[in-house]
């Protein structure tokens, strides 16, 4: 992302899609398959990294839920996949991601279909031959849809520091 790119990140929280519908019984399963959910989140993160480094805005947007939300420092509030894809497209037109690192610090699998995560990220960008770095923090919320696919439902992220290579 233009300033924050963090998009790269992964992170978390809230979206209607990943929480119980209003006033419906919280039908919590007897057990939660935490390992399976974490494995799915790892796969989602790896996809995210690959697609961001490839500059694939459509692919990256497809990792988000239809009504996903993204709040990244330096970008306006993004709500819905089309808005998210448009932001990625503009970002990738301005710079190439040469490195994306996402490191979860804390993950919480609340149910078999919803999880949250906080962590840090490091992105490197090539802007017309100039390489810069960005290190920051993120939070994310993820939901598993009826199709069995885990998607990003919400992300907020901001950079803590940036550096331009000489």
């Amino acid at each position: 992302m233009r300033y924050s790119s963090t998009t790269a990140l992964a992170a978390l929280l809230l979206s209607a899609a990943c929480t119980p519908a209003a006033d419906t019984p919280a039908a919590t399963p007897a057990t939660v398959d935490t390992a399976a959910a974490l494995q799915a989140l790892d796969a989602l993160r790896n996809q995210y990294i690959a697609l961001q480094n490839a500059g694939d805005a459509a692919g990256l947007a497809a990792l988000h839920g239809d009504s996903a939300g993204v709040d990244i420092f330096g970008l306006p509030r993004l709500r819905g996949r089309p808005a998210i894809q448009a932001a990625f497209t503009a970002d990738f037109a301005a710079r190439k991601y040469t490195l994306t690192e996402i490191v979860p610090l804390s993950r919480n699998v609340r149910t078999d279909t919803e999880a949250t995560e906080i962590g840090t990220y490091h992105n490197m960008h090539d802007v017309k031959g100039t390489i810069d770095h960005e290190w920051g923090r993120y939070i994310g919320a993820f939901g598993k849809g009826p199709d069995g696919q885990w998607k990003i439902q919400y992300i907020m992220a901001f950079p803590d520091s940036t550096k331009v290579d000489k």
Partner: protein
């Protein structure tokens, strides 16, 4: 909140292990989620926070934080736990006055009867060393109901989108 302050005034967040019911606990609570009540509690949290912040009552502010609160605010290192918050913000608030603060939730999700996730906007005007500024930003927060029945902030991430000086 001023850049550095990141909301002393504010709050919010998102979901961390500390702020969500433990997996083991969930299986024992197949209750209906009273969405309206949870949303009201989460939204009602802020006026109390604002009242404490604008009067500089750090004890009252601290009482609104979960023991294990985590605050990720741009311009500050991660703040961990109520004690950590006290260390960082008590000092900060000694040199800064929160003139006014407004927190406007955008979306509140009742995750359970004891947990709400919320995103929103904040506007905070502060005075530090005679200089007054207004900060406009966004937040994401997790607000939970503790065993004592009190709703407290368990996580918040926030950043300012813009900061403007205030001419008096």
């Amino acid at each position: 909140m001023p850049r550095r302050s990141a909301f002393p005034g504010l709050l919010l967040a998102a979901a961390i292990a500390a702020c969500a019911p433990r997996v083991e606990d969930q299986a024992a609570a197949p209750m209906a989620v009273d969405t309206a009540a949870v949303q009201a509690a989460a939204t009602g949290f802020w006026p109390r926070w604002i009242a404490a912040a604008t009067t500089g009552d750090t004890a009252a502010m601290g009482a609104l934080l979960a023991d294990s609160v985590r605050i990720d605010s741009k311009g500050l290192p991660p703040v961990l736990g109520r004690a950590g918050w006290m260390t960082v913000f008590e000092t900060m608030l000694k040199g800064m006055k929160v003139e006014s603060e407004a927190i406007t939730p955008e979306q509140t999700t009742a995750v359970s009867n004891e947990l709400a996730y919320q995103t929103g906007d904040f506007v905070e005007t502060t005075t530090t060393a005679g200089k007054t500024q207004t900060e406009y930003g966004r937040y994401a927060a997790a607000i939970r109901k503790d065993p004592d029945g009190q709703w407290r902030l368990s996580y918040v991430m926030s950043f300012a989108d813009s900061t403007l000086p205030v001419k008096k």
